[in-house]
Amino acid sequence: MQVKRVEKQLNAFEKLGIPEIIKGMLFTFGSMFKKRVTRQYPEERYVAPAAVKGQPLLVENEDGTPRCVACSLCEVVCPPKAITIQAEETDRYIEREPEEFSIDMLRCILCGLCEEVCPKEAIVMSDRYELAAFTREELVFHKDQLLTPKADLRKRIDFTKEKFDKWNS
């Protein structure tokens, strides 16, 4: 391939590099007064957009009952086996609900398969991303910790509806 090489002819003053050094110095001096790009984390929190897959949470109906029907699909599909479900009977129309539903966040890989497989939109990936604790026990979340009002998870539910094209509400 023909390469055309263009070399700028520098005069003696330019060869010293002094103009370029001054240019660089002025640039760095100017950038000292530009807007900072750092987020001051503990004070300034990151608001995750709907597409972010954070900690999976259970959806709670407006009347305070869990949407989950304890079908165990998520338990089966979960690749690292983080979900444990114990079903029980209920007098409600849906007849089944989880007696115990726990997600071990030490095992969870935030893949979102549980959300994808759920026929009732009962488990969704929330925008919670601060998953740290001092003990292992603290990171195993149980039913009462996981149940979140539907209104709080609205953003993600709408997103998944659009994304998975699910019409089973």
């Binding site: 050094i21 660089g24 110095m25 640039f27 760095t28 001096f29 950038s31 000292m32 007064f33 530009k34 807007k35 900072r36 790009v37 750092t38 001051q40």
Partner: protein, 352 residues
Amino acid sequence: MSAIEITFMLGKILAFFGIVVALAALSTLAERKVSAWIQLRYGPNRVGPFGILQPLADGLKFIFKEEVVPDGANKLLFRLAPAMVATPALLAVSVIPFSFPVMIDGVSHAMSIIDVPIALLIILALGSLQVYGILFGGWASNNKYSLLGGLRSSAQMVSYELTLILSILVVMMLSGTMNLTDMFYDQETGQVLLWTIFKFPVGTIAFGLFLIAAFAETNRHPFDLAEAETELVGGFHTEYSSMKFALFFIGEYAAMVTMSCLLVILFLGGPTLFGLLVGIENTWVRALLGMGVFLAKLCSFLFLFIWVRWTIPRYRWDQLMHLGWKVLLPISLVNIVLAGVWVIYIAPTWGG
């Protein structure tokens, strides 16, 4: 020696030593702050207001860290090296006048810890001693990167010291003295000297040469080949930890402060401000104001050192030697001849 003189002496020692150590500590903070600002970050801002206590926190951390002496290291030299870097840098403060002399009982006392006629020589001698510390540190670590760093540093300092001394020689020719206090004044008339940097072209060229050589002498960017991180891990202080590393750090920054002091005294007229302060009758007020001016100039040079570090890329090793021996040395030799011409033909017409 009267009681007031002894008190004055002790006060000077405490004050000047304190100023230099505090400046060295604060410039580590300034280094991190300015680098952060240039890179659009905030820098340390968690310890105290604006992170002002960060140097203290760093010091505490260094004290509590484990001291590691590598296997096969020369134990004596390994322990001696940090002290040999820090001591000369701090000792050089003793001859630097921070302000105008003050009158006590009708006798003029210089505002330096000791007032000697050969102050410049002492500073240069102590500056050269610092090389030994770095070379010892590099050699005693029993680590190839440390050794390379030490070797580079010593070769670099030896070649740039020539330029440094030759540019100081020009200042000595222009002012006619080696006493740093006298460098503010004309010896015969007692008038304030014109700042050397304005004596174009001789003084200006000497200033440029001295500035470049000062960067090389203090192992700062763009000549910090002794600790070029990308090539030599950490250079001569790779194997150092804990307070020994902190001493290297203090030595480096104290040397930076000393070099800035020299720059201010030799080229920017020390505490003088275009002759404004000299008219003040009360010598104590004059000395205090002069010290303020001196510290302001000093801090601007410290800022320059840091600013340059975060702007200019590092020189390659052969480029460094090329610049030192083939460019700066001939220029400084020619500059001496020019200075001679200046002293004989031009200076008398300028009135000093």
